[in-house]
């Protein structure tokens, strides 16, 4: 499939939202590389486990590096990569189970570090790869194989969660609108700090929410998704909270923290300069311990 490995033959189901995300990422990366005259090998895609995570093997055209680790740990892997290699462009792709359930603990720390990576969450409101169990973003009352009475837990509001955790840059998109999505991912990668593009990417096999999201006149379904009005002030936390607090899905830029965004690695670099520290050699350090009897 991919240029790197034409033999690779993983398949998503027909109509899966993740196809759109894949194309959008290819476009955003192509645009970024072109703009910067960078090589694509300067990008690493960090993937979680889930149908979503398989995106990392499916990139067509020029090949970025990838790491497809273990369930829920995309962000710490990305943190490790950036810790010593701030020069790399790190793009995290993850699912709603991977990112918001088992991986939820990792969001706050990266937000507070302002880790300079971009996350694309492929939210289908279901555990796809394990064949259809409820995820944090499954709607209330939905019957899945693990919610026989309909889902009893409240639905997680990922937008509100991100804002509460201190995420400074938040955009919401739909996988079916590839161009907008590509632009949002590109802009998020350009943002110097922690950025999330949260994508509604329906699972046609286990939780087909296309109609719910886009609405369906015939069935009398009002669309859940709505474009964020131009009047929205993305710099205002309260406005952002107001925008996301219902269960409707705003599409567009939800929040971008005011002021300069200094990514974590830059804070450390500046602090080291300010403190005037260098690296003492092992010999120097040992010499400080010499017994001078």
């Amino acid at each position: 499939m991919s240029k790197r490995n034409p033999l690779y033959d993983f398949k998503w189901c027909p109509g899966c939202g993740d196809f759109g995300v894949k194309v959008a990422i290819e476009q955003a990366l192509a645009q970024r590389t072109a703009e910067r005259g960078d090589s694509i090998e300067k990008t690493v895609i960090v993937a979680g486990i889930g149908c979503s995570g398989n995106l990392v093997h499916l990139q067509e055209g020029p090949q970025p590096f990838g790491i497809h680790g273990i369930h829920g740990r995309t962000l710490p892997v990305a943190y490790g990569i950036k810790s010593g290699r701030p020069d790399l462009n790190v793009l995290v792709v993850s699912g709603d189970g991977d990112f918001l359930s088992i991986g939820a603990e990792h969001i706050g720390p990266q937000a507070r570090r302002n880790l300079d990576v971009t996350v694309v969450v492929m939210d289908n409101g279901i555990y796809g790869l394990t064949k259809g169990q409820a995820s944090p973003t499954t709607n209330v009352d939905v019957v899945t194989s693990t919610t026989r009475y309909g889902k009893l837990d409240e639905k997680m509001n990922p937008y509100l969660f991100f804002l509460g955790a201190g995420v400074g840059y938040l955009n919401s998109q739909m996988s079916s609108r590839v161009k907008d999505l590509a632009a949002a991912i590109k802009a998020a990668m350009d943002y110097p700090g922690f950025s999330i593009v949260h994508v509604q990417s329906p699972c046609t096999t286990y939780n087909d929410t296309y109609a719910l999201l886009k609405g369906d006149e015939k069935q009398g379904i009002e669309p859940l998704a709505f474009p964020i009005p131009d009047s929205h002030d993305a710099g205002d936390l309260i406005a952002a909270v107001n925008l996301v607090r219902t269960n409707r899905i705003p599409i567009g830029q939800i929040y971008r923290r005011e002021g300069e965004s200094v990514p974590g690695h830059e804070r450390l670099a500046r602090a080291k300069v300010n403190a005037g520290v260098g690296q003492a050699s092992v010999e120097e350090l040992l010499t400080g311990m010499l017994i001078t009897a």
Partner: protein
């Protein structure tokens, strides 16, 4: 004249008993003696039974000492519980404001707190006690004074006053001991040294070894007794290109190490059992995707939260097999302060060489000891780094049965580092043949780690002792005594526990009995050796304290007889 002085300061956490032993040791080291400390305290910030012990000797030291020449105690409980460890003829120095000892034929009561307060130097009570000990044991007081002078010369205006205050305190203690008129045999004078020595703690040796080995990133989550190493790194691994980070959990730590190792850096963390238990899945990922990284596990009493501040050697099985599936993680366990330095270098080299995770198995008693050791010879440090892919293999990251060049992100050879079974390019596959090929590959790569060294003495004997880690010291002391007494028992030792040096393993297999002293219940290394075909028998102890030499000697001797 005696060759050794073992002093224990016993009391409660927060009373400076650990600090007292260390001060005494440092002073003696500056005075030219060999020293080694050991301490034990509960897992709370203030209070609870605690003690620190210093051994001071005119000869190189293997253990903190079984029995005490002097017991300094702060309260009745400390006296009662520590008295059994006082040797016959030993002295007690005690806080006479807290309690009284009726029979003062071998006990010196000192109202050190009051005296320190009266001298306007309330922090000096420990130094008063040290003065008394020095006087009673015949340790050179002038050497101690010189140390005080050096220790408190910090380039501040107040230095002189503080130094004088402390010297006064020391002399008060000396006077008290003189008044009591009790004394031990004098300590032999300090030896002279023709090589430079450093006074160093175990965790510092590990950390400096790591720095000598080229560590670039260190990401850890605080946990006793491994926090000290993280803190040392934060304070000292400060170069512009270096990175030290506090993770939000051990799960974050291990996954971030995988990311950092993948990105081309030499990476390390320090943790203890509970942290290691959380790292199993991440270690599996490093094993599977072939990412170099080093975990320092500073063992403490287990399982679960266990005994956070006590020493134990009970993480060996988990270290080799920290997660599900077939894996055999390389393990190196230093047994002395000097080895702690070299083990870090070896661990980083191994990780780079076979491209995978390595576990450095330290333990509380190693990390926390302070000791004088010869200044490590840095010219002997050999640093290895993974072979970086130049792109010749295109996107083939994993080829054949041996280590392949490592593509570093940013450079050529884009592939996917994958925790699922994968083909040569890192893409997921579930084909039977590939799982077989890749599993073989992951284990065969271990063959490049056959360079572990080992010690072997009296190898003719068909019963041998093989301790590991921090039990080396006690075992060596016991073995030397047995040798001297003509008991025929061989000595083997290595810090390279997995894979074992092939020659060592071959030799051990020829032995009738291999006795393995280890601080755990299960006899973990002995069990592993038996699974490798060695007739190993564990000698275990699990009090949270190191082996006493005398106990170990008796037990080895019993096992040799019982053959």
């Amino acid at each position: 004249m005696s060759k050794n002085l073992v002093v224990r300061f016993a009391g409660e956490g927060g009373q400076g008993v650990v600090g007292g032993a260390e001060l005494m040791a440092q002073a003696a080291a500056q005075g030219g003696y060999h020293v080694l400390t050991f301490s034990t305290f509960p897992s709370q910030i203030k209070g609870g039974p605690a003690w620190g012990q210093a051994r001071i000797s005119s000869e190189p030291i293997l253990t903190p000492g079984d029995y005490l020449d002097v017991l300094v105690c702060q309260n009745q409980y400390a006296y009662d519980t520590n008295l059994p460890d006082l040797r016959e003829g030993g002295l007690v120095v005690y806080n006479s404001e807290e309690f009284e000892i009726a029979d003062n034929s071998r006990a010196i009561g000192i109202a050190a707190d009051r005296m320190a307060r009266e001298a306007g130097n309330p922090l000096a009570s420990t130094i008063i006690m040290i003065g008394a000990v020095a006087q009673a044991a015949g340790v050179s007081v002038s050497a101690l004074e010189a140390f005080i002078e050096k220790r408190w010369t910090r380039g501040r205006a107040s230095d002189a006053a503080i130094i004088q205050g402390n010297i006064n305190a020391l002399r008060m203690g000396v006077e008290e001991a003189k008044k009591a008129g009790l004394a031990l045999e004098d300590l032999e004078p300090a030896p002279s040294h023709d090589i430079p020595r450093v006074m160093i703690r175990g965790f510092e040796a590990s950390a400096l070894g790591a720095m000598a080995g080229g560590v670039e990133s260190f990401i850890g989550y605080p946990i006793s007794p491994a926090t000290t190493m993280l803190v040392y790194m934060e304070q000292n691994l400060t170069g512009a290109e270096k990175f030290v980070g506090q993770a939000s959990s051990e799960i974050e730590a291990i996954a971030s190490l995988v990311g950092a190792g993948y990105s081309g850096r030499k990476v390390m963390t320090s943790t203890a059992g509970p942290g290691l238990s959380l790292m199993g899945e991440g270690l599996g990922l490093a094993w599977m995707a072939e990412i170099p990284l080093v975990i320092v596990d500073v063992q403490r009493g287990g399982p679960a939260t266990g005994l956070p501040t006590k020493t134990e050697q009970s993480d060996f099985i988990m270290a080799m097999n920290p997660g599900h599936g077939d894996m055999s993680v390389p393990v190196i366990a230093p047994g002395t302060t000097e080895e702690a330095f070299w083990a870090s270098i070896a661990a980083l080299n191994w990780a780079e060489r076979y491209q995978g995770p390595v576990i450095l198995l330290s333990e509380a008693a190693i990390a926390e000891r302070a000791q004088d050791i010869p200044m490590p010879d840095l010219s002997k440090v050999k640093v290895e780094s993974r072979t970086v892919s130049g792109g010749a293999m295109q996107n083939r990251r994993y080829a054949g049965d041996s280590v392949s060049p490592f593509p570093v992100p940013g450079g050529p050879g884009a592939y996917v580092a994958n925790g699922s079974e994968h083909d040569e390019q890192g893409d997921t596959t579930h084909l039977p043949d590939i799982h077989v090929t890749m599993t073989n590959r992951r284990f065969r790569k271990l063959e490049v780690l056959s360079d572990g060294t080992f010690e072997a003495e009296n190898t003719g004997s068909d019963i041998v002792v093989l301790p590991w880690g921090g039990s080396k010291g006690s075992a060596r002391a016991a073995w030397e005594q047995l040798q001297a007494e003509g008991v025929n028992v061989g000595w083997y030792y290595t810090m390279f526990l997995n894979p074992l040096p092939p020659t060592l393993l071959a030799e051990l297999k020829t032995k009738k009995k291999v006795l393995v002293p280890e601080l755990n219940y299960m006899g973990q290394l002995a069990g592993h050796l038996r699974s490798l075909g060695v007739n190993a028998e564990a000698i275990t102890q699990y009090t949270g304290l190191p082996f006493k030499v005398s106990d170990l000697k008796a037990e080895i001797s019993r096992r040799v007889q019982g053959q």
